[in-house]
Each structure stands twice: as structure tokens, then as C-alpha cells.
Homo-oligomer: 303 residues x 2
């Protein structure tokens, strides 16, 4: 009998995953507290509900794509939580970026209800999620993967199987966020230095993209600076949060991260300037403000 | 009449450039204090001499590929310097990584002898240099480029023309070295964190290379860690030097670089461990030493 998928959290990533599953012919329930998100999902052909408890009784595989660990724990084990409501043998895929120490605890608690956990943080951004091409960095017991494999295929472009221990998926995601966060801040610092020293920012971008200083984030984010367009695709606050998770996890491991700590301070400084909700490339404005640097201005803002 | 090229400094980059020019049919003189370098260049069909003064009288375009600013100034203006010996209208291409404030000074002093300066730092590593494919980040007066264009083509794969002001080539190189230095240190910090948290390093490498945390340096250097092979392709000391140049230049501009400063400390710490002459991926050993982490070991060293 074909399985039913539940997606809890219809933000940009969750909505993308849920609609991709629908397009692949999977019966999909979606849950979100925001009526407009439920309406959009219903319009796309999904079953939209406001309560995780209601969703749980219809689904055998549930993707939990909420903001953080606290929201994940509420969804799993809160008053309306799914742990007590899913049928035994069901699979929960937890995809928020969290401290890798947490998924093993969740796995244990879910096992008491006969449920499998897949520790499966995602990446790729809203655009890839909408196209059914998100990447899942997944670890967990083979039984969980066997039960959920076709559902994962229905919304993800690539599923990395990173072993059978919950926590490894989140560890790999943590390492990715460490690098992504440092690279965006480094791109902003280096571009600001180059502009302060008199280089043309568009030339800098072209040369660096073809040189050893290149990073995926440099290539992706510096165009925002060149175009003066800081409308948020991913916000400063996301890295305030994610580098915070990386630093807390390392703190618990007694592991020093001087670079990640320095980068985190730069996101905090930018958020302190009131730019927490702006695009993460806004870190360049911290340098510009300190050094009195004129950044490129969007075409429509030019005098 | 075809021009003659001079290459001062037959290290891995200079030797690669000089031999590439020879292969392209250019009469090329090479200068190096080390007899074995001169012998190798003579064996390749070049004219090898020990003194820059001797080289200068035969050449119209001279590529200065020495270690740093002090060596460059000695070559240009020292007792055996080329500035007083080159024919008027000759072009000097200065390619060491230096503070961008210096090339404009050199340009002025060379102009007093009727000589053109191209501020042209190079990148690409020894392998690309040997293949005639190094990249030149070049700025300087149009007259200099007009006189040297065919010679640049003879040893470089790509010449970025970055305007007519000496100093901009070095600025772009400085920005590249900033990012390259931060990215290697970040790769080491992040890989060490992931291993400490229990992830498999080869899996980490595969996932990150296909994710937003990717950098050119991550892709290029992490295999050294996975293979336990720290034989130097580019040393820790190179980034002790190059990030030092970046920080000094920014200091003179009164521009703060918290990330580059943190990365520089990591190279210094690794050099302090006695690893200055090892591959720059040895920064991972700093984290491993602090955290008692076992790194992958080269096959031939395994018990």
C-alpha cells in the first residue's frame, strides 16, 4: 500500500519538499500554524492542517522541517506531539539544523514508541527545495531508511547515507554551516578590503571566481554586494543562529573554533546594526560602516 | 625584431614561466643564485646567469619572480640592479606578492630610467606555471602592456588587465591571498571539528565538496589530510608571510580584518609547532594536537 507523507513546517524549505512530493504523486499532509501557508498548500493539492497531532494519524513518514531544536522537540514530544500518535514502524525525519548531540536522544525516545528516526538536515536553499532537488545529509538505522526511502526520493534530489548513527547527519550539516558561515563573512571582509584599497569590485569578483580564493559562497553572495541588493534570500540571523549552534556544540565537545567564533561576532555585529533580517551578505556593511566605504548601490536607488 | 625575455628567480614559478617561454620560441635569459637552478635552465635551452645585471643588458622584458618585496627592491634598485642597466622603453613585470602600496613607488622610480612597470602578481601554482598556464593579475600603463603583451602570452595562460594604475594588480592578489589563507585554515578547523564529533572524514569531504560549504581550497587541500600526506606543495610559511602582508597593508589603510587576523594566528601557531616547512594543510595538526585527535595516517606509515 502506498505510504502517506507528512511535512511539518511549511516554510520555504518545507513547502518546497511537500509540493515536490505532491508532484511525484505522493499523498501529502502539511502542517503549519500560519493560515496563508495552509491555504497555499491546499491550493497545490495537499491536505493542510494546523495541528501536528491531526497530521500524525494519517502519515507513515513525517518530515519535520521547523526552525530549531526547541520547535522540533515540541513537534515530537509536546502536548500535540506526534510521538504518541504515529503508528508503530513509522519514520520521523528531523531536518532542522541542531546540535548533533540531540538526535541520538530523540532516537531513543522515539524508539520507546516503536518509531524510527532519520537525522536528516537538508541544504540547497528554497529554490532547490521547490524543484524537489534539496540535499539530505542523513544518518540513522537501516530499518528507518528501508521504510522511508521512497518518500525521501519524492522530495530530495540527493540523499547522502552517512551511517546508522543518529547525530552524524547533523555533524556533517554542522561542518557545512561552519564553512558556509566563515566563507560569507570572509567574502565580505575581503571584498571590503579590496574596495578600500581601490580595486574595482566587479573585476575583483571575476578574478577571484577563477582563482584559488574562490568559494561557493563567494560566487553566490558577492553578486548581491555588486548589485547593492540586500533583500533577504538567507538572513544574517540564520548565521547568528547556525554558527551559535556550531559554537555551542564545539563548546560541549571542548573543541576550540577561533575562526567560527570570529565569524559569529561579525554576524552579531551586523545584527546589532539592525540588519539581522537582511541578506547575509550585509556583513559587508559592517566593514563599510567602520571604514566609511561607499558600497555599490542598486540601480533604482541611484540618484 | 623579436624581443628577449628575462626571468629573475628560477624557483618553481619562475622556472615554469621561463621554460614555457622557451617552448614558445622566445629567447629567454634566466637568473638565479643557485647553480643547480641555472644548470636545469641551461639544460632546457635557456641562457642562465647568476647576476641580474648581466641578464638586464640582453632583455627588453624582465619578469621578476622572487620571494618578496625586499628581494624585488634589490633586483630593481640594488648594486646589481636592473633599473640602471635596461634599455629605455623596456618593461619590468613584478610578480612577488607584496603590499599594494609598493608598486606605485617602484613605477615612479623605474620611470626615471625610462622603464615601464607592470604590477603583475601571479597565481596557479607550480604545475600551472610549468604548463605555461599561470594567471597574471596585472595593472599598469598601456604603453607597458603594448611593449610586453607578446612576452606575457609566452608564459601565462590568462592575463587579467586590471587598469592602468600600478598597485591594483597587487590589491587583487592580496584579496585572493586573504581568502585562500582563511579558507585553508577554515577547512582545517571544520574537518577537525567534524572528526572530533565522530564523522567519517572521507564522507565529510564528499558531502562538503557538493554543498554550500565548498571552497577551491577545501577541495584542493583536504585530500592531503585524508591521505595523511603533508609533503609541502605550498608551505605553512607561505601563508605566515602572505597573510602578514595582507594584515600589514590593511593596518596601513586603517582597515580591520578580524578573520584574516585569526587565520594568521593559526598559521603562526602551526609554524610554532615546528611545521612551518610542511604543507599548509598542516594547520589541521594544530587542532589535532590540542584536542588529542587521531588524524588519518599515510598508507606507508600505517603499522
Amino acid at each position: 500500500m502506498p505510504k502517506t507523507l507528512g511535512v511539518i513546517g511549511l516554510g520555504s524549505m518545507g513547502m518546497g519538499a511537500a509540493c515536490s512530493a505532491l508532484r511525484n504523486g505522493v499523498t501529502t499532509w502539511g502542517c503549519d500554524p500560519r493560515p496563508e501557508a495552509r491555504q497555499a498548500f491546499a491550493d497545490a493539492g495537499g491536505q493542510a492542517v494546523a495541528s501536528a497531532a491531526e497530521l500524525a494519524v494519517h502519515c507513515e513518514v513525517v518530515l519535520v522541517l521547523v526552525l530549531n531544536a526547541a520547535q522540533t522537540e515540541e513537534v515530537l514530544f509536546g502536548e500535540q506531539g506526534i510521538a504518541t500518535r504515529l503508528a508503530a514502524g513509522s519514520v520521523v525525519v528531523c531536518s532542522a539544523t541542531v546540535d548533533p548531540a540531540l538526535p541520538p536522544v530523540w532516537e531513543q525516545r522515539l524508539a520507546e514508541h516503536g518509531l524510527w528516526l532519520i537525522d536528516g538536515p537538508v541544504s540547497g536553499g528554497a529554490k532547490k527545495a521547490a524543484a524537489g532537488e534539496m540535499t539530505v545529509m542523513a544518518s540513522g538505522r537501516a530499518e528507518g531508511f528501508a521504510a522511508a526511502a521512497d518518500m525521501l526520493q519524492a522530495f530530495a534530489g540527493k540523499v547522502y547515507r552517512l551511517g546508522d548513527q543518529a547525530g552524524i547527519g547533523s555533524t556533517v550539516k554542522m561542518v557545512n554551516q561552519h564553512l558556509a558561515g566563515v566563507h560569507i563573512a570572509a567574502a565580505c571582509e575581503a571584498m571590503a578590503l579590496g574596495m578600500r584599497a581601490g580595486a574595482d569590485p566587479a573585476q575583483l569578483y571575476e578574478v577571484i571566481c577563477n582563482s584559488a580564493g574562490m568559494s561557493w559562497m563567494f560566487e553566490n553572495r558577492v553578486p548581491h554586494i555588486l548589485e547593492g541588493d540586500y533583500r533577504p534570500l538567507s538572513t544574517v540571523n540564520i548565521f547568528v543562529k547556525d554558527l551559535g549552534i556550531v559554537l555551542d556544540a564545539a563548546h560541549n565537545l571542548k573543541f576550540p573554533l577561533p575562526l567560527a567564533a570570529a565569524a559569529h561576532q561579525l554576524y552579531l555585529a551586523t545584527a546589532a546594526m539592525g540588519l539581522g533580517g537582511a541578506d547575509d551578505s550585509s556583513v559587508v556593511k559592517y566593514y563599510a560602516a567602520l571604514a566609511g566605504l561607499d558600497l555599490p548601490v542598486a540601480a533604482q536607488e541611484k540618484p
